[in-house]
Symmetry: C4
Subunit: 254 residues, 4 copies
């Protein structure tokens, strides 16, 4: 069984760019892309279902089951169209992450997406008032272009590696001759601490880059809601996992 | 090598519903479905063999080897036909669980199964006299329908997530436009403790829901038998696993 | 990449039986089948290469590399032909074991093998003078047949489960309507302790069952040689594994 | 999703030999092949991308993303052509290593490569002034040939096993009737300690074997550069991994 992209609506896209944000350090990617989806009223056009996502499902407050997927939304912009990718989890194995990126990059090729932006956090172990947003690009000659929007490029890069789908999708883009950037916002880097300030810096850059109008006033509130949901889910999941131990054990002996 | 559904008999089904119960918290799903199979004298029509089930086989008291499979039974009811799914274990990896659910949902589509019920336990850490049975549905507009049969829907859901095949099968159903419900009975939630009372509550709801006549008198005895078998298997498995350590080790050096 | 059976010589077989013995408790299966191969001068006809075998290779004393495979030998008997299956290791994952058994059972079907015997140990935690050999069969009506050769069938089976390829191959046989037996010899069950006495009991039964003439005098010596090889390999493997830690680590940072 | 060999240039090869060196004990393989590539000015002709390589990407000092791949270079020699295989990491699972070796050996067959050399370290727990280079071959009759170049063959082999792609590629070669040798240089065997002296011994042997002219003066400096890079990456990776813990955790609860 392989991961699949379920396309609900074949889009016609105008100079499209894909922006991916998933849970991670400071949850910056997830916050940025979820907020854009909500504020821009983007429409869901596809889900990636993967057997390498965690084997659990979510339940909404109204008792309805929700699959865990990588979600793909479309926003028809004035200048360019945005394909926004997010989800409540990353695949749990390196293999699953490779597979999802492969589906996304095939999607990019099929629909003529010429630019890929991935969003994540760069844990620096302390809080700063104005978090910088560092850039890692698919080609050196893109540095000047992205610097115009306030992205910082280190003189002698000290980040070294990018872990997870933020890095993988970017190298897949590079190997298919799609240009792109990974935006890494400075953040404290503590467990389970969402960082709205760092997210705000990234959103401002994206607004400038793609001519978006986004009201940032509700961001802090939105992050509080997300955090409430996460804490809630975390508690339930921990409880269920303790039970899962039981279930797995009994499944071995039963 | 992929999991396969071995169909022994192509069924003609009348308004069929699939009911799945596997080992888990309080073993409620397994007890419910096994008891229905025995009491309704249901006929085995298929086995799912999966390389992601544990790499062991069972031995019956008369020294005959039995494969570990997900078993599919059919009961031709007066009103509707029941497809009953159970087994002695769940696949051991999340991937294997996705794969099995995929086979089951393909089976549902092929044979026009329009409703899926999964049965599990909801560990609450204490014993209650009359365990409630909570419902999680594929669509909000099913709440009223299932409430008629005594299923409880929380005002503001606090369960959060469902782990394993109970949740996965339900979201697969939802994505194929098959309606369904996960029934989670309140139970203590301790390891290896089967809960016949919680199972009884679920069976009563299913009897009402699908117009079944089931004699509940033998339930407590049946659970004792199951527990005896499980304890027995557990002991042997533990012993064998200690040996397995040996075998695996020697297999590395030999 | 899937496991493959490399067939070097398409055999014509006379009422063939397959006998499988792999490393495990007391190494009984491995000893029995290796000794039969040597004494009967059986010819290698196939190798199963599997990406789920351990990722290492053996080196012979004359500095030649040897792949780790599941090896298949043929002995053209007077009455019946024997297909003898052994190897220096079992696949390390349950999935890999399912896959290998699948290849073996396909091989059985293709070449008309009508009986499968798997050989293992049953750890009882103490040494006995004359180890019994217990049988687990694919069908109850085979009990009488095998009892004739001294195989013991427990009145009320207390073994419960069989772990690894011994059990899996037998259930695969059962599902393809091939009859078979798993022979489990009583043995101490301590790590890395080969048990030539238990192996001898199994060989005697197989000699009787299939009309074989095998000189048992060299058995004890052969087991000593095997044990020397195993201890040697174990030591090297442990050393190399300590190094593997290094290598894996450096592979992560390099 | 399977590993793939991306061939950028279909080569015409003259009596070609493949030399593989990857990170491992003392990083000898990686150093030897990287140094040959740099000094011989070899050209990249292919990349193997594999979903079983670590799920991270590298960032060059100029902020450009680099995929983690197994890299294949070509050097057009006077006598024979060299295909040089290296990379910053080995696949992290045994399965992934089998799969990569399979791709490499298919490549060998397609382009008529008749000899395979793999390079690694043999940890002996102490430093020696003049590290010996031991050989393990695909066939005993190659011993005399390789001894001419100073490769040492143990009278009674005590290495026992080879772990990882060094051994696997050699057995794959053997099974396809391609001759070959694994060169294992004596080295201390401590974590993360590159051993330029041992690497030098191997390069000298390869120079002699294939008539190469390589300036060894820059070797020590090159190893220092590599070590600086590795230490740098290690630090970043450790930091990121601590963050990964966070990200993975939050991905479970989000």
């Amino acid at each position: 069984m392989e991961a699949k992209l379920l396309l609900y609506k074949k889009p016609k896209l105008k100079k499209p760019v894909l922006i991916q944000g998933l849970p991670g350090i400071g949850n910056i990617g997830k916050i940025v892309v979820s907020y854009l989806i909500a504020e821009l009223n983007a429409e869901k056009i596809a889900d990636i279902v993967s057997p390498h996502l965690p084997g659990l499902v979510l339940i909404s407050p109204d008792n309805v089951v929700e699959p865990l997927t990588i979600e793909v939304y479309l926003y028809k912009g004035k200048g360019r169209d945005l394909v926004l990718v997010t989800g409540e989890a990353q695949p749990i194995s390196d293999f699953g992450q490779y597979e999802c990126c492969n589906l996304l990059i095939d999607f990019c090729e099929e629909f003529g997406i010429s630019e890929v932006v991935t969003v994540g956090g760069y844990g620096i172990g302390r809080q700063v008032k104005e978090p910088k947003v560092y850039g890692i690009v698919t080609s050196e000659n893109l540095v000047k272009h992205y610097e115009k929007y306030g992205v910082v490029f280190q003189k002698e890069n000290t980040i070294g590696t990018i872990i997870g789908m933020n890095g993988l999708l970017l190298t897949f883009a590079k190997m298919r001759d799609i240009r792109g950037i990974c935006l890494l916002a400075e953040t404290l880097g503590y467990p389970l601490l969402s960082d709205p300030k760092a997210a705000e810096q990234v959103i401002k850059i994206l607004m400038d880059m793609f001519g978006l109008k986004v009201n940032l006033e509700k961001l802090e509130e939105a992050v509080k809601d997300l955090d409430r949901l996460w804490r809630h889910l975390e508690e339930q999941t921990r409880k269920m996992h303790e039970k899962k131990g039981v279930s797995e054990y009994s499944s071995y002996i039963g």
